[in-house]
């Protein structure tokens, strides 16, 4: 584990920048474990139920939420998240609904769970970069994860996120050069999102060794906090990744049971079970204990 961040550490370190996400991840580091970050699409299956799903995963042990803005052309997403996003769009979800969901989730979790928004860039451009940042901050959101925005194109977002005190989570990939890692780390705030593999979101059998290598390289490029996403779906994988990353990001594994043809209560229960397994995984990562599928020992509390 790397040392605690220094005040003058660049970008993704944080404490100095007042990032709530970074603060939470550092608390968890002090507890000796990685954070569990859950992705859920806003408006799927409905706006109200996406709030319920978010609260459910927090109850099951998720530490940080990543709420996705449904978009017509999600090139970094695999079939599961594509299907949910399309269903949300077909259901009439609007970009502004994301602020309502963020506000509801933030309020009902007592502001204890950082709520990030994952969005492709065009909806933000269309809304207005500064207006989006302003409204996200007003809703209590922590910041943005931007899968198709590289810092090179991010001038307006860099300015708006400074202005409104929001996290900027940019991605790094196994193909990133040392120069690109350094550039991205400098531009990031909150944490850096390390894509475990070359590919899109989805469930995979294995998280390869390149993920650990990328995390090490990203730290070497100056990042303090690095979370790993893409392809993590089981408690065993979460445990493995939690050994070397500050956070384990899971999307498709949460969304898949939500797509099932079953009553909503059953789907929610299945989502909770996924959260519990993953939460146990991140909690066992550095303890040397065998990963279990039992409920987490410190479940989140929700004012609901």
């Amino acid at each position: 584990m790397s040392a605690a961040p220094t005040q003058d550490a660049p970008g993704a370190s944080t404490a100095a920048t007042g990032s709530v996400t970074a603060r939470r991840l550092l608390e968890l580091r002090a507890e000796g474990r990685a954070g569990l970050v859950a992705y859920l699409p806003v408006g799927f299956p409905t706006v109200e139920r996406s709030i319920e799903a978010a609260l459910a995963v927090v109850e099951s042990g998720v530490d940080v939420l990543e709420l996705g803005v449904p978009y017509t052309d999600p090139v970094m997403d695999g079939p599961v998240i594509q299907a949910a996003a399309q269903a949300a769009l077909d259901g009439g979800v609007r970009v502004a609904d994301v602020f309502r969901v963020v506000a509801a989730v933030t309020e009902r979790t007592g502001g204890r769970v950082p709520v990030l928004v994952m969005t492709y860039w065009n909806p933000v451009l269309r809304y207005g970069v500064d207006a989006f940042a302003r409204d996200l901050a007003a809703a209590g959101g922590a910041g943005l994860i931007t899968p198709d925005l590289i810092p090179d194109e991010g001038r307006a977002w860099l300015d708006a996120s400074e202005e409104h005190g929001l996290d900027r989570v940019f991605l790094v990939a196994p193909s990133s050069t040392p120069e690109r890692l350094a550039l991205t780390v400098r531009a990031s705030r909150g944490f850096v999102y390390a894509a475990s593999t070359m590919g899109v979101t989805g469930v995979r059998e294995e998280v390869g060794p390149q993920a650990a290598r990328l995390v090490a390289d990203t730290r070497a490029a100056g990042a303090d906090l690095v979370c790993v996403g893409l392809g993590v779906s089981t408690g065993r994988q979460a445990s493995e990744v939690g050994r070397y990353a500050d956070g384990v990001i899971v999307g498709s594994a949460f969304v898949r049971p939500m797509l099932a043809d079953a009553p909503w209560d059953e789907r929610l229960a299945a989502v909770r079970a996924v959260g519990a397994e993953l939460a146990a995984g991140v909690r066992s990562a550095r303890s040397g204990a065998e990963q279990t599928t039992d409920a987490p020992t410190t479940p989140g509390e929700v004012d609901a």
Partner: protein, 438 residues
């Protein structure tokens, strides 16, 4: 705030680099054309885009590469393509003389082969072994499958499921050439979704795979690079028209889907202020119906598939479906260089409806014995409009040069149905449908 991007790394300095207005318009380099273009892509692709840009610039300075491409253009494609004057067609153009740049006579039947051969040679230089491509209806897919066969590359073409069904013959053409055709069953099952799927493939396989993008859209360096491989169209045409009439034409006309044939023609004339440039977009069933692909009439700047450009989008920035009788023009965005030329006022973009295009299609068939691609028929319809406007303005000795970007064999079934030339059952048996170029 700290200047987080004032970096000395290759990617970091690009913020301040917008279009260089001291350059001629024709030699503008990416990533930006005015405020358009850029690289709105996942970080995972940046290394490949950097490599592509480096290799492409090196290749253009390498006599061996330039020579090999020129040889293929001459001996394989059949370049230079002829310039044909069409006087009987021009009788309907208000007295203007009309010349056609005959890209329809290229191998594979359209201008697409120019870009495909250039990129396929680059793929060999980069040591990659697999190419992927999108196709709306077949022409770019067929051209890519052709080059892949010629240069011994594995080839996968993504195509909307709807199109694979309606255009079974082009699917068969690609398969005959050894390509794998993957029907795309997600989203709107259109060209846009085929590009999404190709991008997903590319992210996962970028080490071995080149995305052979078919037009002047996408992230840098594609818009600039694809223009470079097509600028031969305008360079030949400029020489040919000077040779034929001793002066430059008054106007150019081209159809604009992504915009590669238009930019290929326009580029050699961009710095000739006296030459008016007209791009014709798909007006579909009419702008007022919402069923069109007229980005400059019904769109606004936005980001899709890696570039900022004019885009058909709703108030939330969601991409709107486009519509055209011509699949090659049926795309919700447009190459960033066209958005730049539009905003500069250097080129004029107008919609041409399905009905206008089909009327021009029939006119060229009947008056000149040339069956154009329906895409190109949009340029023909536009040329008729430009010619008539010139006559109304009292201009004489007016000359219009039209890019006939593709031939219409692929469109015979669509045209037959449009003009009610065959009964529906016979059409159904041909197992073909609307086909396009993009």
């Amino acid at each position: 705030m700290p200047d987080l991007t004032s970096s000395t790394t290759p990617g970091g300095a690009e913020h301040s680099v917008r279009a260089d207005l001291t350059r001629s318009l024709a030699t503008q380099e990416g990533p930006y054309f005015g405020e358009f273009g850029g690289r709105y892509v996942p970080e995972a692709l940046v290394a490949a885009l950097d490599e592509l840009e480096t290799e492409y610039r090196k290749a253009l300075d390498d006599p061996a590469f330039v020579g090999e491409l020129a040889r293929l253009q001459r001996e394989y494609t059949g370049r230079p393509s002829p310039l044909t004057e069409v006087p009987r067609f021009a009788e309907h153009a208000g007295g203007s003389r009309v010349f056609l740049k005959r890209e329809d006579l290229n191998h594979t039947g359209s201008h697409k082969i120019n870009n495909v051969l250039g990129q396929a040679l680059l793929v060999k230089r980069m040591g990659k072994t697999r190419v992927i491509a999108e196709t709306g209806a077949g022409q770019h897919g067929v051209a890519t499958a052709t080059a892949a066969a010629l240069l011994d590359l594995e080839c996968v073409v993504y195509m909307g499921e709807e199109d694979t069904r309606r255009q079974a013959l082009n699917v068969a053409r690609m398969r005959l050439l050894g390509a794998e055709v993957v029907p795309v069953t997600i989203g709107q099952r259109t060209l846009k979704d085929a590009i999404n799927e190709a991008l997903r493939d590319w992210v996962a396989n970028v080490e071995t795979t080149h995305y052979l993008l078919g037009t002047v859209t996408g992230p840098h360096p594609f818009p600039e690079m694809v223009r470079e491989f097509h600028r031969v169209i305008g360079e030949e045409a400029r020489t040919q028209i000077l040779d034929r009439i001793g002066r430059l034409p008054d106007a150019l006309a081209a159809c604009v889907g992504g915009g590669s044939n238009a930019l290929g023609l326009f580029n050699a004339f961009l710095d000739d202020e006296g030459v008016e440039l007209y791009g014709f977009e798909a007006g579909g069933e009419g702008i007022e119906t919402g069923r069109h692909a007229a980005r400059f009439s019904g769109g606004a700047p936005g980001v899709l598939h890696g570039a900022r450009s004019y885009l058909l989008q709703d108030d939330d920035g969601q991409t709107l479906p486009s519509h055209s009788v011509s699949a090659g023009l049926d795309y919700p965005s447009v190459g960033p260089a066209h958005s730049w030329l539009h905003d500069l006022g250097r080129a004029t973009y107008q919609p041409v409806t399905d009905a206008e295009a089909m009327e021009a299609f029939r006119l060229l068939c009947r008056t000149e014995g040339i069956i154009p691609a329906i895409e190109s028929a949009h340029a023909l319809a536009g040329a008729l409009r430009v010619g008539r406007a010139a006559a109304e303005a009292g201009r004489t000795d007016h000359v219009i040069l039209v890019n006939l970007s593709g031939r219409g064999d692929k469109d015979v079934a669509t045209a037959a149905r449009w003009f009610d030339l065959v009964d529906d059952e016979a059409i159904a048996e041909t197992a073909t449908g609307t086909e396009g170029q993009l």
